[in-house]
Amino acid sequence: MTAPILPSILPEIILVVAATALVAVDLVSRRRANNATLAGIAVIGLLLSALAVYFNLNGQSPRPVLGMLAVDGFASFLMITVLLGMVLVVLYSIEYLKPYAEHRSEFYAFLLAVSLAILIAVSANDLLMVYLGMEFVSITSYILVGFLRKDKRSNEAAIKYFLYGAVASAVMLYGFSMLYGITGSTNLSAIADALTGQTLAGGMRWLSFTSVVLMIVGFGFKTSLVPFHQWAPDTYEGAPSPITGFLSTASKVAGFALMVRVLLVALPRFALDWLTVLAGVSMITMTLGNLVALRQGNIKRLLAYSSIAQAGYILMGLVCIPQEQFHLLALQAFTFNGINGILLYLFGYVFTNLGLFAVVIAIENQTGKTEIKEYAGLVQRSPWLAALLLIFLLSLTGIPPTLGFWGKYFVFGAAVQVRFFVLLIVAVINSAIAAGYYLNIVRYAFFMPAEDESRIHISPSLRVVLAITTVMVLGLGILPGFLIDWASRSAEFLTQF
């Protein structure tokens, strides 16, 4: 129990130090600090943190930190995913921030803060930390979304996000408080233990159901599940594009991590409740997200709906955990246990979407617009960009050999394994619908003539992002062995403390 605390939270400490350093550098330097310098500090901080995450578990067993945080494989996998993803977000921001002279250092510092928040969220092992992590992510996100305070759209995006988020988290919290009352504890494992020990009769049973539903509201908001998704399109459209990239990836990772851990570690007793609810939510989410995405004209909005739909697929992994593995809560590696599907899916989704947003930002930097119309003739304006766009879109569609395929493969696998046929049929139909609107972008980019034939300039930092994401999406798509290995072993470690 008395594991050394400081080494275990070293990744978090590094981020705090880096964020402080960012602000300090800006304060100390006589002129405003160089944009690239700031970004450099941020990137170094993130990478060091990722390194610390790696060494945290390297050769050591999973362990709790005072019962509050869980240093385990599940958390580490998502932490590294998020930290690498955030490196890309920082790289995006370099170019994007050029017109905004002030508050640059704060912007990077907030990116680090939100990474810190996600690290905490993905490893939260206590209802208090769950709430804290989620709110930390949310509050920092509100600020980042509203960062362009002179921009009406950014304001509006932030306020909508804020109001939805605040209501959802408050409702979720009410659920938490009920759970605390039922079990007398806030520690996830202690909750699970208390629940197994009790015979929940009558009202108690109903109250737990209510609290589970209320909690799903909160998680559903964070992961933009239908019907808690309304904020997503507006917020995605209005937010600064790097932040939209962040919201649709890292932020979502946090939401899913929280949901998986709380439901799986604390509430296996109520599995029947939440499995049923979430299965329905999953189907509605993917269908509605995809159908509405078909009608979008703005790429950021489209990606918002696409990310809603993707959340539906990811949820499949949680819904389709094989019963026999579930009851023992010993997820076996190298099987389709749903959780490794979620991990792989999230990993693939994060890097694919970040790559896609790099393309979106490159075009936005050039044209100032995010309408799909602007993509007409992209292949003439920048063949490489068009090709990458295609790769990322195919990855989102789930076409091999891309990274996106493996995630889908594993969640579908989990669903096949538990023979959840209704869900599978809905998922298959949705894959086709999704292909429809992803290909619509491809149609513009490749088939339509360009109105403006000027070549698209891609800044060096964006080139780096594109290179990294492409290597990940294609490289790990063709040779996913290492990743699958890692994810499966990580899923195995989602254990109780």
Partner: protein, 525 residues
């Protein structure tokens, strides 16, 4: 040559990829180099596939055929998935077909494709890689990956180089989504098989007979695979993407689409579904037979009413692929009665017919689409009512068209005959009534070939006012009279014509290939 034999399949798959990458790095302005290099490199797989045919024929067929040239390397060991390639009598000829049609397509396109040349050749080579891969993959995951790789280039070939009036974007997306639904269903089926037998090895899975005795779940999985393959074939009622896609695609695209891509589906049925789910196949075989026969008859009758030459040929593909379905379905229907004397032979016959039909249809329809391209490049229209009396104007074209069209009709002595003969010969023994109905299709085929193609295009009076401008493909000039085949067109068509004759007169070697494979499959049932 031992080491070559070991790696030949990998080479077949990856040389096109290599060529594609080479093309990617040639500046787009240098069109000549792009064309030359891609054609030149694509000759290598062609040569290799010929060598493969010869080698297999001489070395392996006499020794019982079976899977040869196997390679099994760890790919994703965590998933029990291997880089497992292999070829048998079923796939070797199809590899040759792929290589041949790809090379011809590339060659033909190097003269006719004018815009976005680099992308075209890149995508075409990528497509070739995907098709080759499907024919040699012996691992489900690998199979699926190659299956999907073929999807994307075809989508672009249709969408970018299609004629605007044919709604290529619509056709492309329709093609993509149809195929995608099928392939996702297949993915789920693959996973289901994996959970049952714990391996992704296609042969191993077939040996272990997943879901034996569980007809309910087996049927589901069976239909998962069948959905994918039937969409690709395309079998009635999943055929609606095909006419659109064919009409819109550029000539070489249509050739590959009809010549090879459709065969992927049929190949999948024979390679995977039939051996792995004999029980379910037997259960549902009558549905497949029925769909095949409906496809034959329906396709043929639709053809008669078409006014667009290319669309007509597209529908003829639906009809012809119906024979394949009929043959396979008949074989499936025979499973239940396999113990009856002569039944195994009939089944083998039906499968032989189906596979022969695949191969021959590849050559014949490939030729037909080339021919449509030839006339379209000249007249810029495919409307049958605009033609007439061309036999006198362009006799060379007429002659070749006659050969290919009659082969399509199934005229004895030409390639198409044997396939139909074997199919019906096998099917009559097993599903006599349906086979009899299928014969109506043959009659209708004769109708549209003779009446719609030969008569309305070539016979009758030539009216110079119908089409004002004819392009001379030799010089690229506009003229008022149609001109006969240019050199490159001849070069493209003659190999096919020769093959049609050769296979029509002496199909025995090819039948050897297929028969061995069919026997192996049936013996394993």
């Amino acid at each position: 040559m031992a080491s070559l034999n070991e790696w030949i399949l990998s080479l077949l798959v990856f040389i096109p990829l290599f060529a594609a990458i080479v093309v990617l790095f040639i500046p787009r302005e240098n069109e000549r180099l792009i064309k030359l290099s891609s054609i030149a490199v694509s000759l290598v797989p062609l040569a290799l596939s010929i060598y493969l045919m010869a080698n297999y024929f001489t070395a392996h067929l006499p020794n019982g055929g079976g899977m040869q040239y196997e390679v099994k390397l760890a790919w994703i060991p965590q998933l029990d998935s291997y880089y497992h390639l292999g070829a048998d009598g079923l796939s070797v000829p199809l590899l040759f077909l792929t290589a041949l049609l790809s090379t011809l397509g590339l060659y033909y396109s190097s003269f006719t494709i004018k815009k976005r040349v680099k992308e075209f050749f890149f995508l075409f080579l990528l497509l070739e890689m995907g098709m080759m891969g499907v024919f040699v993959a012996l691992d489900y995951i690998l199979f699926y990956v190659f299956w999907e790789i073929g999807l994307v280039p075809m989508y672009f070939l249709i969408g970018i180089w299609g004629q605007p009036k044919d709604r290529p974007r619509y056709a492309a997306i329709k093609f993509f989504i149809y195929t995608l639904i099928g392939s996702v269903a297949m993915l789920l089926a693959i996973l289901a098989v994996y959970f049952q037998v714990g391996t992704f090895d296609i042969l191993e899975a077939a040996r272990l007979q997943p879901f034996a005795g569980q007809i309910g779940i087996a049927s589901l999985v069976f239909w998962g695979f069948m959905l994918a393959f039937m969409i690709k074939v395309p079998s009635f009622p999943f055929h609606t993407w095909l006419p659109d896609a064919h009409t819109a695609a550029p000539t070489a695209g249509s050739v590959i689409l009809a010549g090879v891509l459709l065969k992927l589906g049929a190949y999948g049925i024979i390679r995977i579904v039939l051996p792995t789910f004999p029980e379910a196949f037997s259960q549902w075989s009558m549905v497949i037979v029925a769909l095949g026969v409906i496809g034959i008859v329906y396709g043929a009758f639709i053809c008669i009413s078409q006014s667009d030459l290319k669309r007509l040929i597209a529908y003829s593909s639906v009809s012809h692929m119906g024979y394949v379905m009929l043959g396979v379905g008949a074989a499936g229907a025979g499973i239940a009665k396999i113990a009856e004397p002569g039944m195994a032979d009939s089944m083998a016959m039906a499968i032989n017919g189906a596979v022969l039909q695949m191969f021959n249809h590849g050559i014949i329809t490939g030729g037909l689409f080339f021919l449509v391209g030839v006339i379209y490049e000249r007249a810029h229209t495919r409307d049958l009512s605009m033609f007439g009396g061309l036999s006198a104007k362009i006799p060379g074209y007429y002659a070749i068209m006659m050969v290919v069209a009659f082969a399509s009709l199934g005229l004895p002595g030409l390639a198409g005959f044997w396939a139909e003969f074997f199919t019906f010969r096998g099917a009559f023994d097993i599903v006599a009534v349906w086979a009899a109905i299928g014969v109506i299709g043959i009659v209708a085929t004769a109708g549209y070939i003779l009446y719609r193609i030969i008569q309305s295009v070539f016979l009758g009076e030539y009216d110079p006012h119908k089409i004002e401008h004819w392009t001379d493909m030799r010089t690229g000039q506009e003229g008022h009279e149609p001109t006969d085949l240019a050199g490159f067109e001849k070069l493209t068509l003659w190999p096919l014509v020769i093959l049609i004759f050769v296979l029509g007169i002496y199909p025995t070697p090819l039948v050897h290939f297929f028969n061995q494979a069919a026997q192996t499959i049936i013996n394993a049932l």
